[in-house]
Protein backbone atom coordinates (compact mmCIF):
# COMPACT_ATOMS: atom_id res chain seq x y z
CA UNK A 1 0.00 0.00 0.00
CA UNK A 2 1.33 3.39 -0.98
CA UNK A 3 2.12 5.68 1.91
CA UNK A 4 -0.33 8.56 2.36
CA UNK A 5 1.26 11.85 1.37
CA UNK A 6 1.81 14.08 4.41
CA UNK A 7 -0.21 17.03 3.17
CA UNK A 8 -0.31 18.73 6.58
CA UNK A 9 3.44 18.43 6.86
CA UNK A 10 3.82 19.91 3.39
CA UNK A 11 1.55 22.83 4.32
CA UNK A 12 3.48 23.39 7.51
CA UNK A 13 6.81 23.33 5.66
CA UNK A 14 5.49 25.84 3.14
CA UNK A 15 4.39 28.16 5.93
CA UNK A 16 7.81 27.93 7.55
CA UNK A 17 9.46 28.77 4.23
CA UNK A 18 7.11 31.67 3.54
CA UNK A 19 7.65 33.07 6.99
CA UNK A 20 11.42 32.77 6.71
CA UNK A 21 11.29 34.65 3.39
CA UNK A 22 9.23 37.43 4.94
CA UNK A 23 11.45 37.87 7.98
CA UNK A 24 13.65 40.60 6.56
CA UNK A 25 10.87 43.17 7.08
CA UNK A 26 9.89 42.13 10.62
CA UNK A 27 11.11 44.70 13.13
CA UNK A 28 10.12 46.07 16.53
CA UNK A 29 10.38 49.22 18.57
CA UNK A 30 11.49 48.99 22.17
CA UNK A 31 9.16 51.01 24.36
CA UNK A 32 10.86 50.13 27.65
CA UNK A 33 13.06 47.42 29.14
CA UNK A 34 10.15 45.01 28.96
CA UNK A 35 7.75 46.27 26.35
CA UNK A 36 7.91 46.57 22.60
CA UNK A 37 5.69 47.24 19.63
CA UNK A 38 5.65 45.53 16.24
CA UNK A 39 7.03 47.39 13.24
CA UNK A 40 7.79 46.89 9.57
CA UNK A 41 11.22 47.56 8.12
CA UNK A 42 9.64 49.45 5.24
CA UNK A 43 12.77 50.81 3.61
CA UNK A 44 16.46 50.50 4.42
CA UNK A 45 16.24 53.72 6.43
CA UNK A 46 12.70 53.71 7.84
CA UNK A 47 10.27 51.67 9.94
CA UNK A 48 6.50 51.87 9.83
CA UNK A 49 4.36 51.14 12.88
CA UNK A 50 0.90 51.59 14.39
CA UNK A 51 0.49 55.23 15.35
CA UNK A 52 -2.17 54.61 18.00
CA UNK A 53 0.12 52.42 20.10
CA UNK A 54 3.30 54.45 19.73
CA UNK A 55 3.93 56.50 22.89
CA UNK A 56 4.91 60.16 22.73
CA UNK A 57 8.59 60.86 22.27
CA UNK A 58 10.94 61.59 19.41
CA UNK A 59 13.71 59.05 19.88
CA UNK A 60 13.17 55.31 19.84
CA UNK A 61 15.23 52.16 19.77
CA UNK A 62 14.49 49.90 16.82
CA UNK A 63 15.12 46.17 16.74
CA UNK A 64 15.99 45.13 13.19
CA UNK A 65 15.24 41.72 11.61
CA UNK A 66 18.78 40.52 12.39
CA UNK A 67 18.33 41.38 16.08
CA UNK A 68 20.57 44.42 16.05
CA UNK A 69 19.42 47.50 17.89
CA UNK A 70 19.53 50.83 16.11
CA UNK A 71 18.43 54.24 17.38
CA UNK A 72 15.77 55.98 15.35
CA UNK A 73 13.81 59.21 15.31
CA UNK A 74 10.13 59.75 14.80
CA UNK A 75 9.74 61.18 11.28
CA UNK A 76 6.00 61.73 11.62
CA UNK A 77 2.72 60.23 12.77
CA UNK A 78 -0.64 60.38 11.07
CA UNK A 79 -3.55 59.59 13.44
CA UNK A 80 -5.97 59.76 10.48
CA UNK A 81 -4.52 56.63 8.85
CA UNK A 82 -2.77 55.21 11.95
CA UNK A 83 0.62 55.21 10.22
CA UNK A 84 3.79 56.37 11.99
CA UNK A 85 7.26 56.42 10.44
CA UNK A 86 10.57 56.13 12.30
CA UNK A 87 13.75 57.12 10.51
CA UNK A 88 16.72 54.92 11.37
CA UNK A 89 20.00 56.57 12.33
CA UNK A 90 21.91 53.72 10.68
CA UNK A 91 20.78 52.22 7.41
CA UNK A 92 19.63 48.59 7.54
CA UNK A 93 19.57 45.97 4.82
CA UNK A 94 16.66 46.82 2.53
CA UNK A 95 13.66 44.48 2.91
CA UNK A 96 11.97 42.74 0.00
CA UNK A 97 8.40 43.97 0.35
CA UNK A 98 6.10 43.33 -2.58
CA UNK A 99 2.68 44.84 -2.04
CA UNK A 100 -0.31 42.60 -2.58
CA UNK A 101 -4.06 42.91 -2.10
CA UNK A 102 -6.16 40.81 0.25
CA UNK A 103 -8.69 38.18 -0.85
CA UNK A 104 -11.47 37.07 1.45
CA UNK A 105 -10.91 33.54 2.66
CA UNK A 106 -7.22 33.41 1.87
CA UNK A 107 -4.70 32.40 4.50
CA UNK A 108 -2.67 35.18 6.02
CA UNK A 109 0.54 35.21 8.04
CA UNK A 110 1.05 38.07 10.50
CA UNK A 111 4.46 38.66 11.96
CA UNK A 112 5.62 40.18 15.22
CA UNK A 113 8.85 40.26 17.12
CA UNK A 114 9.80 39.23 20.63
CA UNK A 115 11.67 42.51 20.97
CA UNK A 116 15.02 40.75 20.89
CA UNK A 117 15.15 40.09 17.16
CA UNK A 118 13.37 36.75 17.17
CA UNK A 119 10.16 36.81 15.13
CA UNK A 120 6.73 35.55 16.17
CA UNK A 121 4.21 34.23 13.68
CA UNK A 122 0.42 34.18 13.51
CA UNK A 123 -1.68 32.28 11.01
CA UNK A 124 -5.23 33.19 10.17
CA UNK A 125 -7.64 33.99 7.40
CA UNK A 126 -8.67 37.17 5.68
CA UNK A 127 -12.06 37.48 7.32
CA UNK A 128 -13.47 40.38 5.31
CA UNK A 129 -12.38 42.80 2.62
CA UNK A 130 -14.34 45.97 2.01
CA UNK A 131 -13.96 49.03 -0.16
CA UNK A 132 -12.10 52.19 0.76
CA UNK A 133 -13.19 53.66 4.11
CA UNK A 134 -12.67 56.71 6.29
CA UNK A 135 -11.39 56.60 9.85
CA UNK A 136 -12.90 58.45 12.78
CA UNK A 137 -9.99 60.88 12.43
CA UNK A 138 -10.88 61.57 8.81
CA UNK A 139 -8.20 59.57 7.02
CA UNK A 140 -8.89 57.60 3.86
CA UNK A 141 -7.86 53.93 3.98
CA UNK A 142 -7.66 52.16 0.62
CA UNK A 143 -9.48 48.98 1.71
CA UNK A 144 -11.06 47.55 4.81
CA UNK A 145 -9.18 44.34 5.59
CA UNK A 146 -10.20 42.36 8.65
CA UNK A 147 -8.29 39.31 9.81
CA UNK A 148 -9.40 36.24 11.69
CA UNK A 149 -6.42 35.65 13.94
CA UNK A 150 -5.10 36.46 17.40
CA UNK A 151 -2.55 39.20 17.88
CA UNK A 152 -0.69 40.15 21.05
CA UNK A 153 -0.43 43.84 21.89
CA UNK A 154 3.32 43.62 21.25
CA UNK A 155 2.74 42.30 17.73
CA UNK A 156 0.58 45.18 16.55
CA UNK A 157 2.19 47.27 13.82
CA UNK A 158 3.92 44.31 12.18
CA UNK A 159 3.46 43.14 8.59
CA UNK A 160 0.79 40.77 7.25
CA UNK A 161 1.50 38.56 4.25
CA UNK A 162 -0.48 36.37 1.90
CA UNK A 163 0.61 32.81 1.12
CA UNK A 164 2.62 33.94 -1.91
CA UNK A 165 4.68 36.20 0.36
CA UNK A 166 2.88 39.34 -0.86
CA UNK A 167 2.76 42.17 1.66
CA UNK A 168 -0.86 43.01 2.55
CA UNK A 169 -0.11 45.83 4.97
CA UNK A 170 0.32 46.64 8.66
CA UNK A 171 -1.69 44.97 11.42
CA UNK A 172 -3.56 47.15 13.88
CA UNK A 173 -6.27 46.84 16.51
CA UNK A 174 -9.68 48.05 15.41
CA UNK A 175 -12.76 48.51 17.56
CA UNK A 176 -13.91 45.68 19.86
CA UNK A 177 -10.67 43.76 19.47
CA UNK A 178 -10.92 43.43 15.70
CA UNK A 179 -7.63 42.88 13.90
CA UNK A 180 -7.41 45.19 10.91
CA UNK A 181 -4.79 45.65 8.22
CA UNK A 182 -3.82 49.12 7.06
CA UNK A 183 -3.32 48.20 3.39
CA UNK A 184 0.11 48.39 1.81
CA UNK A 185 -1.34 50.96 -0.63
CA UNK A 186 -2.24 53.27 2.28
CA UNK A 187 1.18 52.86 3.88
CA UNK A 188 2.87 53.56 0.53
CA UNK A 189 0.82 56.74 0.13
CA UNK A 190 1.23 58.10 3.67
CA UNK A 191 4.70 56.97 4.78
CA UNK A 192 6.67 58.88 2.09
CA UNK A 193 4.87 62.12 3.07
CA UNK A 194 5.68 61.53 6.73
CA UNK A 195 9.29 60.71 5.95
CA UNK A 196 9.90 63.83 3.86
CA UNK A 197 7.57 66.41 5.41
CA UNK A 198 6.82 64.98 8.85
CA UNK A 199 3.10 65.23 8.25
CA UNK A 200 0.26 64.56 5.83
CA UNK A 201 -1.47 67.80 4.85
CA UNK A 202 -5.27 67.76 5.25
CA UNK A 203 -7.94 70.36 4.85
CA UNK A 204 -9.48 71.88 7.97
CA UNK A 205 -12.67 73.75 8.76
CA UNK A 206 -12.12 74.09 12.51
CA UNK A 207 -15.53 72.82 13.67
CA UNK A 208 -16.83 70.02 15.86
CA UNK A 209 -19.93 68.59 14.19
CA UNK A 210 -22.54 66.02 14.97
CA UNK A 211 -25.28 64.67 12.75
CA UNK A 212 -28.81 65.88 13.50
CA UNK A 213 -32.22 65.43 11.94
CA UNK A 214 -33.49 68.48 10.07
CA UNK A 215 -36.70 69.68 11.79
CA UNK A 216 -39.81 68.62 9.83
CA UNK A 217 -40.86 72.18 9.00
CA UNK A 218 -37.50 72.90 7.31
CA UNK A 219 -37.07 69.68 5.35
CA UNK A 220 -38.63 70.99 2.18
CA UNK A 221 -36.61 74.23 2.08
CA UNK A 222 -33.44 72.40 3.05
CA UNK A 223 -33.93 69.52 0.63
CA UNK A 224 -32.24 67.30 3.23
CA UNK A 225 -33.47 65.16 6.12
CA UNK A 226 -30.19 65.27 8.04
CA UNK A 227 -27.33 67.72 8.47
CA UNK A 228 -24.24 68.34 10.56
CA UNK A 229 -24.77 70.68 13.48
CA UNK A 230 -21.92 72.89 14.63
CA UNK A 231 -21.21 72.04 18.29
CA UNK A 232 -18.13 74.21 18.75
CA UNK A 233 -15.61 76.19 16.73
CA UNK A 234 -11.84 76.43 16.95
CA UNK A 235 -11.13 80.09 17.71
CA UNK A 236 -9.60 81.77 14.67
CA UNK A 237 -10.23 78.66 12.54
CA UNK A 238 -11.64 78.85 8.99
CA UNK A 239 -15.27 78.29 10.06
CA UNK A 240 -15.05 80.85 12.87
CA UNK A 241 -13.55 83.38 10.45
CA UNK A 242 -16.38 82.73 8.02
CA UNK A 243 -18.86 83.57 10.77
CA UNK A 244 -20.26 80.12 11.56
CA UNK A 245 -21.83 79.85 14.99
CA UNK A 246 -22.78 76.89 17.20
CA UNK A 247 -26.23 75.63 16.21
CA UNK A 248 -25.71 76.16 12.47
CA UNK A 249 -26.60 73.01 10.55
CA UNK A 250 -24.45 72.26 7.50
CA UNK A 251 -26.55 70.78 4.69
CA UNK A 252 -24.05 70.56 1.88
CA UNK A 253 -20.47 71.33 0.88
CA UNK A 254 -19.98 72.63 -2.68
CA UNK A 255 -23.27 71.06 -3.64
CA UNK A 256 -22.46 67.63 -2.13
CA UNK A 257 -24.95 66.54 0.51
CA UNK A 258 -23.53 66.43 4.05
CA UNK A 259 -25.72 63.39 4.78
CA UNK A 260 -22.68 61.15 4.51
CA UNK A 261 -19.62 62.27 6.46
CA UNK A 262 -17.33 60.59 3.97
CA UNK A 263 -18.68 62.87 1.23
CA UNK A 264 -17.74 65.88 3.33
CA UNK A 265 -14.31 64.41 4.03
CA UNK A 266 -13.74 64.02 0.31
CA UNK A 267 -13.72 67.84 0.15
CA UNK A 268 -11.01 68.08 2.79
CA UNK A 269 -8.12 66.19 1.18
CA UNK A 270 -4.58 67.54 1.05
CA UNK A 271 -5.28 69.41 -2.20
CA UNK A 272 -8.15 71.37 -0.60
CA UNK A 273 -5.88 73.63 1.46
CA UNK A 274 -6.29 77.26 0.38
CA UNK A 275 -9.46 76.54 -1.60
CA UNK A 276 -12.80 78.12 -0.89
CA UNK A 277 -15.89 75.96 -0.45
CA UNK A 278 -19.52 76.97 -0.36
CA UNK A 279 -21.54 75.67 2.58
CA UNK A 280 -25.33 75.62 2.70
CA UNK A 281 -26.52 76.10 6.26
CA UNK A 282 -29.68 76.22 8.28
CA UNK A 283 -29.41 79.21 10.55
CA UNK A 284 -32.31 80.59 12.55
CA UNK A 285 -34.89 78.75 10.47
CA UNK A 286 -33.58 79.89 7.08
CA UNK A 287 -31.18 78.36 4.57
CA UNK A 288 -28.13 80.54 3.98
CA UNK A 289 -24.93 80.11 1.92
CA UNK A 290 -21.51 80.75 3.51
CA UNK A 291 -18.09 80.69 1.88
CA UNK A 292 -15.27 79.14 3.91
CA UNK A 293 -11.59 79.12 2.97
CA UNK A 294 -10.05 75.78 3.96
CA UNK A 295 -6.71 75.91 5.74
CA UNK A 296 -4.32 73.14 6.68
CA UNK A 297 -5.30 71.09 9.71
CA UNK A 298 -2.95 72.01 12.55
CA UNK A 299 -1.06 69.18 14.26
CA UNK A 300 -3.09 67.47 16.97
Amino acid sequence: MAQEPNLLGALSDLLVARFAAARDSVAALRLSERAHLGAILWRHDALVTSQQSLPDGDTLEAVLPDGSRVPGKLAGRDPATNVAVIRLDTAARAPTLTASTAQVGSLVIAAGSDGGGRPSARLGMVNAVGPEWHSMRGGRIEARIQLDLTLAASEEGGPAFDTAGGWLGMTTFGPRGQILVIPAATVERIAPALLTGGRVPRGWLGVALRPVAVPDELRETAGEVTGLMVMSLSPGGPAAKAGLVPGDIILSVDGTSARRLRNVLAHLGGDSVGKSVSLRLIRGGAVVPVEVTITERPEA
Binding site: S135, F173, P175, R176, V214, D216
Partner: protein, 186 residues
Protein backbone atom coordinates in the same frame (compact mmCIF):
# COMPACT_ATOMS: atom_id res chain seq x y z
CA UNK B 1 -24.48 31.05 53.49
CA UNK B 2 -20.98 31.74 52.22
CA UNK B 3 -19.81 35.29 51.98
CA UNK B 4 -19.67 36.45 48.33
CA UNK B 5 -16.10 37.06 47.10
CA UNK B 6 -16.76 40.74 46.57
CA UNK B 7 -17.43 41.10 50.28
CA UNK B 8 -13.67 41.10 50.83
CA UNK B 9 -12.95 43.76 48.19
CA UNK B 10 -12.75 46.37 50.91
CA UNK B 11 -9.43 45.30 52.50
CA UNK B 12 -5.91 46.63 52.06
CA UNK B 13 -3.81 45.20 49.22
CA UNK B 14 -0.09 44.62 48.73
CA UNK B 15 0.65 46.27 45.37
CA UNK B 16 3.85 46.24 43.28
CA UNK B 17 4.34 49.11 40.82
CA UNK B 18 6.24 49.15 37.53
CA UNK B 19 6.17 52.49 35.77
CA UNK B 20 8.20 54.46 33.25
CA UNK B 21 10.19 56.52 35.76
CA UNK B 22 10.77 57.15 39.46
CA UNK B 23 8.51 60.17 39.49
CA UNK B 24 5.58 58.21 38.09
CA UNK B 25 6.24 55.38 40.57
CA UNK B 26 6.25 57.90 43.45
CA UNK B 27 2.97 59.44 42.26
CA UNK B 28 1.28 56.05 41.98
CA UNK B 29 2.71 54.90 45.34
CA UNK B 30 1.34 57.99 47.06
CA UNK B 31 -2.04 57.41 45.47
CA UNK B 32 -2.12 53.75 46.56
CA UNK B 33 -1.17 54.62 50.14
CA UNK B 34 -3.93 57.22 50.26
CA UNK B 35 -6.36 54.38 49.56
CA UNK B 36 -4.85 52.29 52.37
CA UNK B 37 -2.76 49.92 50.24
CA UNK B 38 0.78 48.76 50.93
CA UNK B 39 3.39 49.28 48.17
CA UNK B 40 5.78 46.32 47.89
CA UNK B 41 8.50 45.10 45.54
CA UNK B 42 7.48 42.69 42.76
CA UNK B 43 9.66 40.04 44.46
CA UNK B 44 7.65 40.25 47.66
CA UNK B 45 4.65 38.26 46.43
CA UNK B 46 2.24 41.15 45.85
CA UNK B 47 -1.52 40.63 45.64
CA UNK B 48 -1.64 42.64 42.45
CA UNK B 49 0.62 44.63 40.14
CA UNK B 50 0.07 48.12 38.78
CA UNK B 51 1.88 48.86 35.51
CA UNK B 52 2.21 51.62 32.93
CA UNK B 53 1.34 50.80 29.29
CA UNK B 54 2.32 47.12 29.33
CA UNK B 55 2.14 44.16 31.62
CA UNK B 56 5.60 43.54 33.10
CA UNK B 57 7.34 40.36 32.00
CA UNK B 58 7.34 38.80 35.47
CA UNK B 59 3.59 38.94 35.00
CA UNK B 60 2.48 36.01 37.09
CA UNK B 61 0.45 38.27 39.36
CA UNK B 62 -2.89 39.78 38.37
CA UNK B 63 -2.04 43.09 36.76
CA UNK B 64 -3.76 46.39 36.23
CA UNK B 65 -2.32 48.28 33.26
CA UNK B 66 -2.74 52.04 32.85
CA UNK B 67 -2.80 53.27 29.27
CA UNK B 68 -1.78 51.35 26.17
CA UNK B 69 -3.66 48.52 24.51
CA UNK B 70 -2.45 45.50 26.45
CA UNK B 71 -5.67 43.54 26.12
CA UNK B 72 -4.05 40.48 27.75
CA UNK B 73 -3.89 42.22 31.12
CA UNK B 74 -6.55 41.47 33.74
CA UNK B 75 -7.18 45.16 34.24
CA UNK B 76 -6.91 47.92 31.63
CA UNK B 77 -7.69 51.57 32.37
CA UNK B 78 -6.84 54.77 30.50
CA UNK B 79 -3.57 56.44 31.44
CA UNK B 80 -5.44 59.34 33.05
CA UNK B 81 -7.73 57.12 35.17
CA UNK B 82 -8.89 58.73 38.41
CA UNK B 83 -7.55 57.52 41.78
CA UNK B 84 -10.89 56.00 42.75
CA UNK B 85 -11.02 54.10 39.43
CA UNK B 86 -7.52 52.71 39.98
CA UNK B 87 -8.41 51.69 43.54
CA UNK B 88 -11.64 49.98 42.46
CA UNK B 89 -9.94 48.22 39.54
CA UNK B 90 -7.02 46.98 41.70
CA UNK B 91 -9.40 45.49 44.24
CA UNK B 92 -11.40 43.76 41.50
CA UNK B 93 -8.31 42.45 39.68
CA UNK B 94 -6.78 41.19 42.93
CA UNK B 95 -9.92 39.13 43.40
CA UNK B 96 -9.77 37.47 40.02
CA UNK B 97 -12.07 39.76 38.08
CA UNK B 98 -11.34 41.28 34.69
CA UNK B 99 -11.67 45.06 34.50
CA UNK B 100 -12.08 47.26 31.44
CA UNK B 101 -13.00 50.90 31.34
CA UNK B 102 -15.87 51.80 29.07
CA UNK B 103 -13.55 54.49 27.71
CA UNK B 104 -10.84 51.97 26.84
CA UNK B 105 -13.33 49.67 25.17
CA UNK B 106 -14.16 52.42 22.72
CA UNK B 107 -10.57 52.72 21.50
CA UNK B 108 -9.01 50.94 18.57
CA UNK B 109 -8.63 52.37 15.11
CA UNK B 110 -12.18 52.74 13.89
CA UNK B 111 -14.25 53.93 11.01
CA UNK B 112 -16.24 57.09 10.90
CA UNK B 113 -19.80 56.49 12.06
CA UNK B 114 -22.43 57.18 9.45
CA UNK B 115 -25.55 57.83 11.53
CA UNK B 116 -28.93 56.47 10.54
CA UNK B 117 -31.26 59.31 9.65
CA UNK B 118 -34.29 57.90 11.47
CA UNK B 119 -32.45 57.69 14.82
CA UNK B 120 -31.02 61.22 14.74
CA UNK B 121 -32.45 63.83 17.10
CA UNK B 122 -33.59 67.22 15.86
CA UNK B 123 -32.00 70.28 17.50
CA UNK B 124 -35.22 70.75 19.52
CA UNK B 125 -35.14 67.15 20.71
CA UNK B 126 -31.50 67.61 21.71
CA UNK B 127 -32.54 70.65 23.78
CA UNK B 128 -35.26 68.61 25.47
CA UNK B 129 -32.73 65.90 26.23
CA UNK B 130 -30.31 68.43 27.74
CA UNK B 131 -33.14 69.59 29.99
CA UNK B 132 -33.90 65.98 30.98
CA UNK B 133 -30.18 65.55 31.78
CA UNK B 134 -30.45 68.60 34.04
CA UNK B 135 -33.13 66.71 35.98
CA UNK B 136 -36.05 68.88 34.84
CA UNK B 137 -39.63 67.58 34.85
CA UNK B 138 -41.75 67.89 31.70
CA UNK B 139 -43.50 70.87 33.24
CA UNK B 140 -40.19 72.60 34.01
CA UNK B 141 -38.94 71.84 30.48
CA UNK B 142 -42.06 73.45 29.02
CA UNK B 143 -41.40 76.55 31.10
CA UNK B 144 -37.69 76.68 30.18
CA UNK B 145 -38.32 76.37 26.45
CA UNK B 146 -41.54 78.37 26.38
CA UNK B 147 -43.59 75.59 24.78
CA UNK B 148 -46.68 73.68 25.86
CA UNK B 149 -46.58 70.63 28.11
CA UNK B 150 -48.27 68.69 25.34
CA UNK B 151 -45.45 69.55 22.90
CA UNK B 152 -42.81 68.55 25.47
CA UNK B 153 -44.47 65.17 25.96
CA UNK B 154 -44.58 64.69 22.21
CA UNK B 155 -40.85 65.44 21.90
CA UNK B 156 -39.88 63.29 24.89
CA UNK B 157 -41.70 60.35 23.35
CA UNK B 158 -39.87 60.87 20.07
CA UNK B 159 -36.50 61.11 21.89
CA UNK B 160 -37.16 57.83 23.71
CA UNK B 161 -38.15 56.10 20.49
CA UNK B 162 -35.10 57.33 18.54
CA UNK B 163 -32.69 56.38 21.31
CA UNK B 164 -34.39 53.10 22.14
CA UNK B 165 -34.65 54.17 25.78
CA UNK B 166 -37.42 53.45 28.24
CA UNK B 167 -36.40 55.70 31.14
CA UNK B 168 -35.10 59.26 31.37
CA UNK B 169 -31.80 58.04 32.89
CA UNK B 170 -31.33 55.55 30.09
CA UNK B 171 -32.06 58.19 27.46
CA UNK B 172 -29.45 60.54 28.92
CA UNK B 173 -26.84 57.76 29.09
CA UNK B 174 -27.49 56.55 25.54
CA UNK B 175 -27.44 60.07 24.14
CA UNK B 176 -24.10 60.79 25.83
CA UNK B 177 -22.60 57.62 24.39
CA UNK B 178 -23.87 58.52 20.96
CA UNK B 179 -22.63 62.09 21.17
CA UNK B 180 -19.12 60.85 21.94
CA UNK B 181 -19.21 58.40 19.04
CA UNK B 182 -20.74 60.77 16.51
CA UNK B 183 -19.04 64.08 17.13
CA UNK B 184 -16.31 64.69 14.60
CA UNK B 185 -13.72 67.44 14.25
CA UNK B 186 -13.36 68.65 10.70
Amino acid sequence: MTQPAVGSLAGSLRVAITARDEERIATLAKLLRSFGHEVVDSGEDPDVMLADQHRPEEGRYPTLVLGGTDTDAEGLLPEDAAGAEIDAALRAVAHGLVVRSARVRATGFSAIQEAEARTLLTPREAQILDAIADGLTNKAIARRLGISLHTVKFHVESVFRKLGASTRTEAVAKAGERRRAETIDL
